[in-house]
């Protein structure tokens, strides 16, 4: 059996399977010495911070087991048996190292105790303790107990239990629910009213309120299939995919940007131009009821599915729309995290640094998946999956080629002065290149270097860039390096020898530039400065050709530059290789920019962000897939010990997770990176987690809570499911029904449990205050999207177009599109979305929090969107067309609350409107201010414009909508009243 080291804290685990030299069995005397002298010292002074028993392992060290003591801590072994002088433990107790004094804080051991410890180490650190294997594994999830966790057992299909009240259940779901209630002596709430049920179902499936017509139709349909018809109608609506697609996008940590790291943005585009194609793919797949197993496979491996439709490549956005980091291992971690939490409800990323603390996921599992994603690449060329609106393509192409041309022009304009500087001062660049390297040299050298930098006024970034050219094997500058390697005092004697080698140019593998060789033939350098002058003169001699070379490159829109000998061309391609116009495409220019230092990058001023923005926003831009492919050479990864990439442990084959594999014996993946096999292992009926996780999430979105309330973690740390049998029943039925989400919705929604009212019961509130047993329906607040989309529905302006490029969700002028089409900037999520609990797009989050804070109220009270909606509601034809106030009010109630008003509500409304009519202001606060400060409005516009960008283009700015600002005039009494309805709890809650 493989020996697995136990885990000590997050950072502590060592993957080393053995603990090195284990000392021989202690003699009786040695054992007694340990028991009488050593163990008491350890116990009284060390266990406080270093005890497995007490769950304390500072520095990754435990001393209450033999294994722990021998293994040592994060910095390695603490005891070298037989050699006290080389044992950090002895150094620490003697306070020899100011950074490592133990016990700390001056609680130094007595001299006698130190002597005992020293003697004990000297005798070979004999340790008679017998470690308890179970104890050793206490702090990792690699236990049989963890492996026997319910969620890792195969899904079964339990028989629905029998119930006393046989009249209530409509099917198996209800039997499971009722049985639990009856167990506790509880009863389900009465059925919800038809109005409440329709509102609940419509919001649940579409994220939108029902229309007055739909309410009327359902109310008048007395057939037993009335509700079933509603469910079918809603499931067939494109709005269903928009709603449930958005749920999945929370899980998939969907965002349109790479995240907040400006250092990354210097070298890659901040905005994902095509993340939205993934979002649209999700919406379409959900609307098409794509079987969930296929839904998984496409998102992980659409590129490897045989004869796959081109449009399915967009599914791979699941992997690629995550946050970007400078370290590729962090990007891989994001993908492992999204894949395992997203599809498996398992927090595998915890095993990046150590075996999982609670779940049976060893680091080897993590690195098995690491190999899969490390063998996956993102091709720079993204495939077009759909063409854009035909009438827009020409304009897009025109703008794009203009930008590309401007970039090329900028490139040559940028490079020319750099070349000037370099050619004119090549002696200086060479002399300073002697000292390159990142570290400071000794003072004398540093002085010389600084003096050279100042004398020649060298460009800092060119110095750094040139350091790469001035290597020994360089055809042009290699000779300089050969001279530079000579010691000053040896120069006179050894230089002729170096010179001879250069002029002989005998190394056929690395021939020197003939012009350089010629130049040296005429030279007799007496110092390194003389050598530099040789280059200076050489470059001076070809100066006339320099401008024409650059011009030739700029003109070379096809093929190579002509009219220059190769040796001249070779001299010209410094300090940077000069791109021809044909080569100077966006990709190559981006790479050029990446090679520049910070200062030059800052000055380079290419239009990459504008190109990015054009691709993202122009209606004529084609849709492309953010795909991945297997890399040409696939490879396994080694375990990174403690997550540190510098310390590699054992190599792990690319394979699936142990605990989820048949017989817990994962087989190595064979095909390419193994992504397809990974996807198939997840999308498998024998995988115990996949179906359960999905069913739990669907249940959560219908009832407010899942069976398990942590939808992305069904592991050992999660609470047990409230209805484990029902969860399994639904999971197995889900798989039997070919992983159909729509069938799952139908089963759930046609249950009587779903149709309970939210009516409370004082007694049951005491027994089950959180309503875990579903003795009633939960009251739920609309989330951000549902609230915003409802406002648009009320206003009559909702644009129901499905799919497309993202829109700005929060700023005026506001968009009429559904919120799912909002531009999500993970690096700067708008405050409004934050205050409405929008899902954090940095990591998978299938469950939203639901807080209640004043900022939410301020949006409804004061935002121009809320005001505009109030105006537009009142302007709806059924309201303007109503004959009288009562008619207006009834129509208004039907739109906003989908019901008719009660007499008391009518009374309130009419009084309010009448009173406001008497108090109608002539000016709004904005108009008043404007009048006060004559040019206030202009200033206001200016201020707004400034706030948006200060005139400077910033690649991280949000995209903006086109449209008009809302007029700042006062509301009418009816508009004020309508806005009050929007503010009300009833408009924001589903009951």
């Amino acid at each position: 059996m493989k020996h697995r080291s136990f885990v000590l804290a997050l950072l502590a685990a060592s993957a080393a399977p053995s603990f090195g030299a284990v000392s021989a069995e202690p003699t009786k005397a040695q054992a007694e010495f340990f028991e009488n002298k050593i163990r008491p010292i350890l116990k009284e002074n060390c266990y406080k911070c270093h005890s497995l028993e007490q769950s304390k392992a500072k520095g990754g060290l435990t001393l209450d087991t033999k294994t722990g003591l021998l293994k040592g801590g994060e910095n390695g072994a603490i005891v070298k048996p037989g050699e006290p002088d080389k044992s950090p433990m002895i150094s620490a107790v003697n306070y020899l190292d100011p950074d490592l004094q133990m016990p700390p804080k001056g609680e130094k051991l007595t001299n006698g105790q130190i002597a005992d410890l020293t003697a004990w180490v000297k005798m070979g650190a004999p340790d008679p303790r017998k470690d308890d294997a179970a104890k050793l594994s206490k702090l990792s999830g690699l236990t049989e107990k963890a492996r026997s966790h319910w969620a890792y057992q195969p899904v079964t299909k339990p028989t629905p239990p029998s119930v006393k009240n046989t009249a209530w259940p409509r099917g198996p779901i209800d039997q499971f629910i009722l049985a639990k209630l009856e167990e506790k002596g509880m009863t389900p709430a009465p059925d919800a009213t038809k109005e409440a049920l329709l509102r609940r179902a419509t919001y649940d499936l579409t994220g939108l309120p029902p229309s007055p017509e739909e309410v009327k139709a359902f109310a008048s349909d007395n057939s037993p299939q009335a509700f079933s018809k509603v469910v079918d109608r809603l499931l067939a609506s494109p709005a269903y995919g928009e709603r449930w697609g958005r749920h999945w996008l929370d899980t998939a940590r969907y965002s349109d940007t790479v995240g907040g790291d400006r250092n990354i943005v210097r070298t890659i585009d901040y905005k994902y131009a095509y993340a939205w194609t993934y979002r649209d793919w999700v919406i379409k797949a959900v609307n098409d009821d794509m079987p969930y197993d296929q839904f998984i496979v496409h998102q992980l491996a659409a590129d490897k599915v045989k004869d796959n439709a081109q449009e399915n490549l967009a599914a791979l956005g699941f992997l690629t729309v995550g946050e970007r980091f400078r370290n590729v291992n962090d990007i891989i971690n994001d993908r492992i995290d999204a894949t395992t939490k997203g599809f498996l409800g398992l927090t595998v990323s915890c095993a990046r640094c150590h075996d999982h603390m609670f779940d049976p996921v060893p680091t080897t599992d993590y690195y098995a998946l690491h190999g899969v994603f490390a063998s996956t690449i993102e091709p720079a060329d993204k495939p077009v999956i759909a063409m854009a609106a035909q009438d827009q393509v020409a304009d897009y192409q025109r703008q794009m080629s203009e930008l590309e041309q401007q970039n090329r022009d900028r490139y040559y304009k940028f490079v020319a002065p750099l070349q000037d500087d370099f050619f004119n001062k090549v002696d200086g660049y060479l002399l300073v290149a002697r000292f390159s390297g990142k570290r400071n040299g000794p003072a004398e050298q540093e002085k010389e270097r600084i003096a050279t930098l100042q004398k020649y006024k060298l460009e800092r970034d060119l110095v750094v860039a040139f350091a790469r050219n001035a290597r020994g094997n360089d055809a042009v500058f290699g000779p300089f390096r050969a001279f530079a390697d000579l010691k000053k005092e040896d120069f006179a004697t050894k230089a002729p020898e170096v010179l001879a080698q250069i002029t002989a140019n005998a190394n056929s593998k690395r021939p020197l530039n003939p012009l350089v060789v010629e130049a040296f033939k005429a030279a007799q350098p007496q110092s390194i400065e003389d050598v530099a002058t040789v280059y200076k003169n050489l470059y001076a001699s070809i100066e006339p050709q320099r401008k024409s070379y650059l011009e030739a490159c700029q003109k070379a829109t096809q093929g190579q530059v002509s009219g220059f000998t190769p040796e001249v061309a070779q001299l010209m391609n410094h300090p940077y290789e000069i791109l021809t116009a044909a080569e100077a495409n966006t990709q190559n220019l981006r790479e050029f920019q990446q090679r520049l230092g910070n200062q030059l990058q800052g000055r380079s001023n290419f239009y990459f962000a504008k190109i990015n923005e054009l691709e993202l926003t122009h209606p004529g831009a084609p849709a492309k897939a953010m795909l991945v492919n297997d890399s040409a050479t696939v490879k396994n990864s080694s375990v990174f010990i403690r997550g540190q990439q510098e310390t590699k442990g054992e190599m792990v084959p690319r394979r699936f997770l142990e605990v989820l594999s048949p017989n817990r014996q994962p087989l190595p993946f064979k095909e390419g990176s193994g992504r397809l096999e990974l996807a198939q292992s997840i999308a498998s009926k024998s995988n115990p987690l996949t179906a359960r996780v999905l069913v739990n999430r669907v249940w959560m979105h219908h009832f407010g809570e899942g069976f398990v309330r942590t939808p992305d973690d069904l592991g050992v740390q999660s609470e047990p499911p409230t209805h484990p049998e029902l969860l399994d029943y639904l999971a197995s039925q889900f798989m039997e029904q070919n992983w159909s989400m729509k069938k799952l919705h139908r089963s759930i929604m046609l249950s009587r449990a779903y149709q309970e009212s939210s009516q409370t019961n004082k007694k049951f509130e005491q027994m089950d205050p959180e309503n875990r047993l579903l003795w009633r329906a939960n009251i739920r607040r609309l989330d951000f999207e549902a609230l915003r989309d409802s406002l648009l529905v009320f206003s009559g302006k909702l644009d129901r177009t499905v799919g497309g490029k993202p829109i700005n969700l929060t700023d005026e002028p506001y968009s009429y599109r559904r919120s799912v089409y909002g531009y999500i900037d993970r690096g700067n999520l708008p405050e409004l979305m934050q205050s409405f609990d929008f899902s954090d797009p940095d990591m998978p989050n299938s469950k939203r929090t639901s807080t209640i804070v004043p900022q939410q109220a301020l949006f409804l009270m004061n935002s121009s969107m809320s005001v505009d909606v109030a105006r537009r509601v009142v302007a709806r034809p059924e309201i303007t067309g109503a004959g009288d106030d009562l008619g207006r009010l009834i129509a208004l109630y039907r739109v906003v609350f989908q019901r008719t008003p009660q007499p008391v509500e009518i009374d309130l409304a009419l009084k309010f409107v009448a009173n406001e009519a008497r108090n109608q202001p002539t000016q709004s606060p904005a108009e008043l201010k404007e009048q006060q400060a004559k040019n206030g409005r202009v200033a206001d516009k200016k201020a707004r414009k400034n706030a948006k960008g200060n005139g400077r283009y910033d690649s991280m700015n949000a995209i903006q909508n086109q449209g008009e600002l809302i007029e700042r005039k006062p509301l009418t009494p009816w508009e004020t009243y309508a806005q009050a309805l929007l503010l009300s709890n009833e408009a924001s809650y589903i009951n």
Partner: protein
């Protein structure tokens, strides 16, 4: 470094504070008391079947309404609020708070054991205050406040690159997104005034105020404040441009009537009640929040003390915010990345914050608020004691993560303290080293938290601000 990798932290062993959303929230009774409101006389306990056991410590009530209501930390302390002056760019420690006379001996020479050209500070250091702490002449006014300050001279960080080190200072994480310091503090303590946001930043990068996996309400609310800013634009939707305040009051009264009827029908569900009150808070926030930013209400003397600059005005606003019960204010003061021209750049940078920060300390003290307000000044790393390699004729210093300095004042800090030391040249922290995680642990301790127990359960693991590290620097706590 003392990696306190105590494995109790990410585990189930600590149950003191493992809230999910519902228990970061408060009971309605407390809620009404704090906000001075009382709608109806319902007994929420009877509705929800709860006990209002006022447990000590951070143990939250098990059902709750607003996550921002004030909460008690683990142990009682003086500090109630934080003003973090973030000196972005990496302030040079040897030119400001860490005198190194030894360095002068090596001017333009090689320091033993170091490469490069030694670059002694061009500034004089003077013994200041009763405590006689040596302070660079570039901080004449702050120098007068040293008896209220603890200067940590042995701070160090992991990676001396701006982006990473700034993230580390503000979120305790080098790379992966984690909640910001202010988010943790407001998560742990709630905020005193429900009519104000609890965590406000006056400029700075979004990730310095992000709530990450903590609920969005703990995210910092940013105001790119300038003196010329219109008050009605300081916070999102803070004022209504269409409807006057009188009509809005009547409109909200109507909403309350509608809500009360709706609530009756649904047996006064707690969240419905909470939302009713959120509207009242929002209504008050409109005047209270704009008022907090209105420094025209300050006396000319106060304005003069803080100075005429935007930075001075920001610190004055910070005081007004703290006064109104805002829990955490971060003020960004950029420009400390002095690769060149130390001799002119440092006096300019220091001069910008010297007067305002000194005014802030004195002002808070005079108002009796210094004890309850923790001021933290510092950047993301320190600087080298050798010249920057850029060869600038007027030299500067490069980044240095091994040595940096920070000071804290008020809020239970032991004034007149110097803690730790760099080596004789100032090139690296040497005595009583304080890692960034240690500083974070100390800030949390000053606010009454055991940093190992202020945790948030996310995806099966308890997360801390200090990750798995951090030792409290007790010696800077009074």
């Amino acid at each position: 470094m003392n990696p306190d990798s105590d494995f109790s932290c990410p585990s189930k062993y600590i149950r003191e504070h493992t809230p999910s959303l519902k228990d970061v929230i408060f009971t309605r009774r407390e809620f009404l008391e704090r906000t001075g409101m009382g709608f109806g006389a319902m007994s929420l306990a009877s509705i929800l079947g709860l006990s209002f056991g006022g447990q000590a410590g951070a143990a939250p009530a098990n059902k709750s309404l607003s996550p921002l209501l004030p909460k008690q930390p683990h142990f009682p302390v003086k500090a109630k609020a934080v003003i973090h002056i973030f000196a972005e760019g990496g302030p040079s420690h040897v030119d400001t708070w860490d005198p190194k006379p030894e360095l002068a001996k090596y001017a333009d020479k090689t320091i033993p054991g170091h490469d490069g050209l030694a670059f002694p500070s061009p500034f004089k250091f003077n013994k200041m205050g009763q405590s006689g702490i040596e302070v660079s002449e570039v901080f004449p006014k702050l120098g007068e406040c040293v008896d209220d300050m603890a200067v940590i001279r042995s701070l160090w960080t992991d990676i001396p690159a701006h982006e990473v080190a700034q993230r580390f200072m503000n979120t305790g994480s080098l790379q992966l997104p984690k909640p910001s310091m202010g988010s943790w503090v407001v998560y742990g303590l709630g905020t005193e005034n429900q009519n104000m946001p609890g965590f406000i930043t006056l400029s700075g990068k979004p990730e310095w105020r992000q709530s990450s996996f903590l609920p969005g309400v703990f995210q910092g609310c940013n105001v790119n404040y300038t003196q010329g800013m219109k008050l009605e634009e300081v916070l999102l939707n803070i004022s209504n441009q269409f409807t006057g305040i009188d009509r809005q009051r009547r409109q909200l009264d109507l909403v309350h009537q509608l809500n009360n009827m709706h609530s009756q029908a649904l047996q006064k569900d707690a969240q419905l009640e909470a939302r009713i009150e959120a509207f009242e808070m929002a209504f008050k926030m409109q005047t209270e929040a704009t008022d907090a930013f209105d420094i025209s209400k300050e006396s000319p003397e106060a304005r003069a003390a803080y100075g005429a600059t935007d930075l001075g005005a920001k610190l004055l606003v910070a005081r007004r915010l703290i006064e109104r019960g805002v829990r955490f204010v971060q003020v960004q003061h950029g420009g400390w990345d002095t690769h060149a021209n130390i001799e002119t750049a440092i006096p300019k940078q220091a001069g910008a914050i010297d007067g305002p920060a000194a005014a802030l300390i004195k002002d808070l003290k005079q108002r009796g608020l210094l004890d309850s307000t923790l001021i933290v000044w510092g950047g993301e790393f320190g600087r080298t004691v050798v010249r920057d390699r850029n060869g600038n004729a007027t030299p500067g210093r490069d980044h240095n993560g091994r040595a940096m300095v920070t000071w804290m004042a008020g809020g239970g800090v032991k004034g007149g303290t110097v803690y730790g030391a760099t080596d004789e040249f100032g090139s690296r922290a040497a005595e009583k080293k304080v890692h960034i995680h240690d500083l974070h642990a100390t800030i949390l301790a000053l606010l009454g938290f055991d940093h190992t127990k202020l945790t948030y359960r996310y995806n099966g693991r308890d997360f801390r601000f200090t990750d798995n590290f951090g030792n409290v620097v007790r010696d800077v706590i009074a």
